[in-house]
Symmetry: C2
DNA sequence: GACAGTATATGCAGCATACATCTAGACAGT
DNA sequence: ACTGTCTAGATGTATGCTGCATATACTGTC
């Protein structure tokens, strides 16, 4: 999912000089971001997947660029679990679009995600502080 | 890894009422925490795995309780990658202990983790804000 | 016809987590 | 002697999230 903008564009095999904590695959071990991002976009407006992806970019000021494939997978799962509903958009020309909409449960899930993300925010900060403190002590 | 303290002790099969964003396995999709926690503990003091686990609990005020098995796996990998070194502690009674120590590369890795965790902190906050904002707008 | 953009979807590899289980020494209680 | 608990290390397995590659298909442009 989310590549952080501002990092070097890194061509195909250009992960050379990066350290493990940033180099690792699977999002580099950052937490789940696609699902909450999708929910946030859906709260802003009901839309189809491709559009939600743009909405996520817009919302985050271009910082979060989710993988399209991953986004569709997440939307499917959210639908299976009853947090969103979808219908094929009709009467349009062009490729078929599937319009997604949040359910009441989806809105509750979004609330839970806020708490969850705040917790992650706090824990990340706590660990960063611990590391900083220990490093400082180490240099003394 | 880290179970957050304060959540109900949840007996064996007691994941019943929890929502997906908190219920999911694999750490619930929170980011990597064991590795940075281990590095922070090792910065504080060289020690063996079991003790590092306690140190992590102490450091975080009991908030982060890493899985022992996972911790040993992480330490092994860090050693394979040259970030820590280990020796079997000798002359002791009791079960064998393996003492771990940070290398210079390990200290650099810890620095990288600080930046990485700050980034995660910021991104989690950003998403939480986006969700909150969208939810607020939704209620108006 | 070739190509780019829109739109949805699947396959795969890699990392991280949680829970269960295994070995093994030391020690206390019955 | 048997049982249980704590310490200490390690492995197996299931689940989940990510990123990248790839496949399909429609539309409009050159």
């Amino acid at each position: 999912m989310g590549r952080i903008h501002g990092h070097e564009p890194r061509g195909p095999g250009a992960a050379g000089g990066m350290r493990p904590c940033c180099r690792r695959a699977g999002g580099g071990g950052r937490g789940a971001l696609v699902e909450p991002a999708a929910l946030a976009a859906l709260l802003a407006k009901s839309a189809h997947g491709y559009d939600l992806r743009r909405e996520i970019q817009r919302m985050t000021g271009g910082e979060l660029e989710v993988d399209a494939g991953g986004l569709y997978r997440v939307l499917r799962r959210l639908e299976d679990e009853g947090f969103v509903t979808s219908v094929w958009a009709e009467g349009d020309s062009g490729p078929q679009r599937r319009d997604y909409e949040l359910t009441a449960e989806g809105r509750e899930l979004a609330e839970d995600w806020v708490a969850h993300l705040r917790e992650r925010e706090r824990l990340s900060g706590l660990l960063a502080d611990s590391l900083s403190a220990a490093m400082k002590k180490d240099t003394e």
